[in-house]
């Protein structure tokens, strides 16, 4: 059975920001986007998703507006703010450097490392 990787806190915020940078969407849309683009590897409890959205909305990284889905349902659409976009850029860079450093160390040949 596939074990789905649990998301580290903080990483979820980053992924949401990335998702929203493509297009504004509602809560469910974000959840399915994440599942699709991680090929099902990454999961998050839906409630954690909304908690993250509330946090970021309070900090001004995203803003929300009521809209209508294709099926005429009322949904709350989230959107990236300028501040959120800047945050996404800087945090992505930091993440990349972090991941690269960690990978580099982990790939070291144990016999040659000293």
């Amino acid at each position: 059975m596939d074990t789905k990787l649990p998301l580290l806190k903080g990483t979820l915020d980053l992924l949401i920001l990335k998702a929203l940078s493509c297009a504004p969407t509602h809560g469910y849309g974000l959840a399915s986007w994440l599942e699709r683009h991680s090929s099902g590897e990454l999961t998050a409890e839906d409630s954690a998703l909304y908690q993250a959205l509330h946090r970021m909305e309070g900090r001004g990284l995203v803003e929300a507006e009521w809209g209508v889905t294709e099926n005429k349902r009322r949904a709350r659409y989230y959107n990236l703010t300028t501040k959120g976009r800047q945050h996404l850029e800087s945090e992505s860079t930091t993440w990349a450097r972090y991941a690269a450093s960690v990978s580099a160390i982990l790939e070291l040949d144990p016999t040659s490392a000293s």
Partner: protein
């Protein structure tokens, strides 16, 4: 109109609205997920369950999401609020800089008035509101003698005090004290200093901070130990430091005392004490209870309060009266008064009155600023219209303008506080009066907080009207002009308020001035100017008995009168404007009358030196001596009181409480030989009382403490002083002395009254100036508003005088209304001044009318200038400019 609905929703409805929204968001999410799962083949019920399961435990998850949504909203609200405020402040600053003239005037007015208010409050706080600087000061009380007829005396007798404290359970510790000027010797220097003699547990009651050594104890007094505690100021002055003074010796009233402690001056009691000594307290009975020579302090026992203590002590006093019925004073009740109230008693009314007056000035300033702001409202119409078009609500605009006024107020308040700090000390020093606790007046945190509070209050008060008016002006759009727009009714009301307040303050100042004039023109009964005086104490052992003291006075007076600089010299145990004693009297047919008299031991030339008029009979002469019959001189008040309708010459009187102890039996009957004019003892404000004069040479016991009075023969004051100094120094006792002009001392008694009147005059002037500014502004603005109307009238043939009259009439209406209201306010507040006035009623019509007339003239003059300018306009130019 403010959007009340939105405001309310924020508070009450918002929470449920958030929950509803969250529910809807979740519902959509669940439905979409359910659809997806159904698409993968699940049944609707299974799909729905799975969808909910993805949230974890669904109900708990939903509640947690409610909570995080609320937090989100709260954070957003805060952010919006601070953003708005920040924007308002930046906007306010820009606006202030755009109109520097207006801002400068407003800020200056506010700075000046807030400085005045701050200084006044600093004095009120320092003297009246601050607690005394002793541990647990609210437990300290003063014990007093009270009766229904004569009110409370802060003095009590040692005998009564002894019994009260012995039988009382509500007092933890208690003491009696008296303060005198004493002859003091440090090293080779002899001088006069202020000493406090204490009995009981004085230092337990007051608990001053000791800078060195130990305080005096009850045992010191009972052992009659020759020990003293110095005040830190005295120690530093004479020994260099508090610790250096410890163990030194000081000569006090002829005896040598050892310094066992030094107390911190500012935290000790009573004020101005240089040194403390302890005296022996003993119980007494009978008429000795009538010698109320001491003041008393006490510390309440834990759990006791003032009412219970007074009740207990009254019961004790009743018990004493029953067991020892002689004498008058001990039948009085006991007063228990908080010590702070006792210390500041004389000044409280004056200070509160000044506080009310300065508050009035502050209100005038606020009205002034509001008026200035209203005048500017029109000029901001376009700005307001623009903002409203861009979406600002009216509430928002009002808030923006309020922030602007608050901003100016804050700047003005800060400047005012700085001004008070810099100039306050100098101002208070110039107004040198002997306020109790004046040393503690500072601009500390309490005063700063007060200043901050009134600054904000003033800013809001001054700004609310113009802010609302400005926000409302956008309604008409820019460019709309009314014939009488802009300030109109509110502006007139504001100026009328200023007029009313200014008039009230002016009337107050006028009443005080009249009272001062009345008081100063009173006859004192003697002439203090030109008289040099000093206390002289004969402390040597040799003077305690026998004729040496009497001989000393006689020789001293003779030596002085030999000098050509001296017109006459005399001694008296009790001179005007100095502490002294009254005596219980006795008459052959009325052993205990219901009044007492001043008891004055004098030399023959006393009446001549003091220029007290002789009315009947004779005064003392060389035939009156120790072996001749005892004689007395009385004053007019005594004659009228004791022997109404008859001549007092030949009548008999005695002063038992003062003389009994000198004889081994009863006090002798004195025969009245003369009547002299009344005097006012405590200066112009004092009333006249019955007085009894006796000759020092006739007393069997020597008088060792006298006041020397010397009247000069010419105008050479320095010469007279030098002569008196020489004679005193070369006299056999060579006593310590302090020469002072009696005239100065009496004039100083009026000091507080004069200063109060001057301060109130200053406030009046400020209020009047502001009022003039307000009237000027109102008329100038009205003239500008009515330019077109005036131009048309002028073009149609109206004469200048007619136009002038038109402008003045409008101003006149405002002044008249303000005057009427001001008279009413002053009438209503009359009670505030009642106790400060002498011989002038607080509703004195002359003062009221004069003040109103003066104000009216000033007001019309203030209105005249802009009216004249308006009347002079050229109609063509004016219309063209429209």
């Amino acid at each position: 109109m403010l959007d009340y609905r939105r405001i309310l929703r924020l508070r009450f409805g918002r929470r449920s609205e958030i929950r509803r929204e969250m529910d809807e968001e979740l519902r959509t999410h669940i439905e979409l997920r359910t659809e997806e799962l159904m698409g993968k083949g699940m049944s609707p019920e299974e799909a729905r369950e799975e969808a909910e399961r993805r949230f974890g435990e669904f109900d708990r998850a939903r509640r947690e999401l409610y909570a995080s949504a609320m937090k989100r909203e709260a954070r957003l609200e805060r952010g919006r609020f601070f953003d708005d405020i920040g924007r308002d402040i930046r906007l306010a600053v820009r606006r202030i800089f755009r109109s520097p003239g207006y801002a400068t005037v407003s800020i200056s007015i506010l700075a000046l008035v807030i400085a005045l208010t701050t200084i006044t409050f600093a004095v009120v706080d320092g003297v009246l509101l601050r607690p005394l600087p002793f541990p647990a000061p609210d437990r300290l009380v003063s014990l007093q003698s009270v009766s229904e007829e004569s009110g409370p005396y802060p003095q009590i007798s040692m005998a009564n005090w002894f019994d009260w404290q012995e039988q009382s359970t509500t007092l933890a510790s208690t003491a009696i004290w008296r303060q005198d000027r004493l002859s003091v010797r440090v090293g080779d220097e002899s001088f006069r200093a202020t000493g406090t003699s204490v009995g009981g547990r004085f230092f337990d009651v007051i608990q001053p901070t000791m800078q060195a050594g130990r305080p005096l104890t009850f045992a010191d007094g009972q052992d009659i130990a020759l020990v003293t505690v110095l005040s830190s100021g005295f120690a530093q002055l004479h020994f260099g430091s508090s610790s250096a003074a410890l163990g030194q010796t000081v000569g006090i009233s002829g005896r040598t005392y050892e310094v066992v402690g030094v107390a911190d001056g500012p935290t000790s009691y009573p004020e101005q004490t240089d040194l403390w000594v302890a005296f022996f307290v003993n119980p007494g009975s009978g008429a000795i209870r009538n010698s109320i020579n001491f003041e008393s302090v006490a510390r309440l026992a834990p759990g006791a309060d003032i009412e219970s203590t007074k009740a207990e002590l009254d019961a004790v006093a009743r018990g004493i009266r029953e067991s020892d019925p002689e004498g008058a004073f001990h039948s009085w009740g006991v007063g228990v008064v908080p010590l702070r109230d006792q210390v500041v008693a004389g000044s409280a009314e004056t200070l509160w009155m000044l506080m009310v007056a300065v508050a009035g000035v502050l209100l005038v300033a606020c009205a002034n600023l509001a008026g200035l702001g209203l005048a500017r409202a029109r000029s901001r119409e376009s700005e307001v219209s623009l903002r409203m078009a861009l979406g600002s609500g009216r509430a928002r605009i009002v808030r923006q303008f309020l922030v602007e006024y608050l901003g100016m107020a804050v700047i003005g308040g800060a400047l005012g506080f700085v001004l008070a700090w810099v100039a306050g000390g100098a101002i208070l020093d110039r107004l040198t009066i002997d306020l109790p606790r004046a040393d503690g007046v500072t601009l500390d945190l309490r005063v700063a907080l007060f200043t901050a509070a009134i600054t904000i209050g003033a800013g809001l008060l001054a700004g609310i009207l113009p802010a609302v008016r400005t926000a409302g002006s956008g309604r008409f759009g820019s460019g709309h002009r009314t014939a009488r727009g802009g300030r109109g009714l509110p502006g007139g009301l504001l100026v009328a308020t200023e007029v009313a307040l200014a008039l009230s303050i002016l009337i107050g100042g006028g009443l005080l001035l009249r009272s001062l004039q009345v008081v100063v023109s009173r006859d004192l009964g003697y002439e203090p100017h030109g008289v040099l005086t000093t206390e002289v104490d004969l402390n040597g052992e040799e003077y305690r008995r026998g004729p040496l003291a009497t001989e000393y006075w006689r020789t001293l007076i003779e030596d002085l009168e030999e000098s050509p600089d001296v017109a006459s010299a005399a001694v008296a145990n009790w001179i005007p404007a100095a502490p002294g004693g009254t005596s219980f009297l006795s008459f052959p047919d009325n052993l205990e009358p219901d009044f007492g008299g001043g008891y004055r031991v004098v030399s023959e030339a006393y009446f001549e030196t003091m220029e007290i008029a002789q009315l009947d009979g004779r005064t003392f002469g060389p035939d009156d001596h120790q072996d001749s019959d005892r004689v007395a001189v009385v004053n007019r008040a005594m004659a009228e009181r004791a022997w109404p309708g008859r001549s007092p010459i030949g009548q008999q009187i005695s002063a038992p409480s003062m003389e009994r102890w000198m004889y081994d039996g009863d006090a002798p009957w004195l025969t009245v030989v003369g009547v002299v004019e009344d005097i006012r003892h405590w200066g112009y404000e004092a009333e006249v009382r019955p007085e009894l004069y006796v000759l020092y040479r006739q007393l069997p016991a020597p008088t060792r403490g006298m006041n020397l009075v010397v009247r000069g023969s010419g105008t050479d004051q320095a010469g007279l002083a030098a002569t008196v100094q020489d004679v005193l120094r070369s006299s056999s006792a060579s006593p310590a002395f302090e020469l002072e002009w009696l005239g100065d001392r009496v004039d100083d008694l009026l000091g507080e009254r004069i200063v109060t009147q001057r301060v109130l005059a200053g406030f009046s002037l400020t209020a009047l100036l502001l009022m003039c500014l307000g009237i000027y502004g109102l008329v100038a603005h009205a003239a500008a508003q009515r330019t077109r109307e005036m131009a048309v009238r002028a073009a149609l043939g109206a004469r200048r005088s007619g136009l002038l009259g038109l402008m003045l009439a409008a101003a006149g209406r405002v002044i008249v209304i303000g005057t009427v209201v001001g008279l009413a306010v002053a009438y209503g507040l009359a009670g505030l001044l009642e106790s400060l006035l002498i011989d002038v009623p607080a509703t004195d019509p002359v003062t009221f009318l004069l003040a109103a007339a003066l104000l009216g003239v000033i007001g019309v003059l203030a209105a005249l200038v802009p009216s004249v300018q308006a009347a002079r306009l050229d109609p063509i130019e004016a219309l063209r400019g429209e």
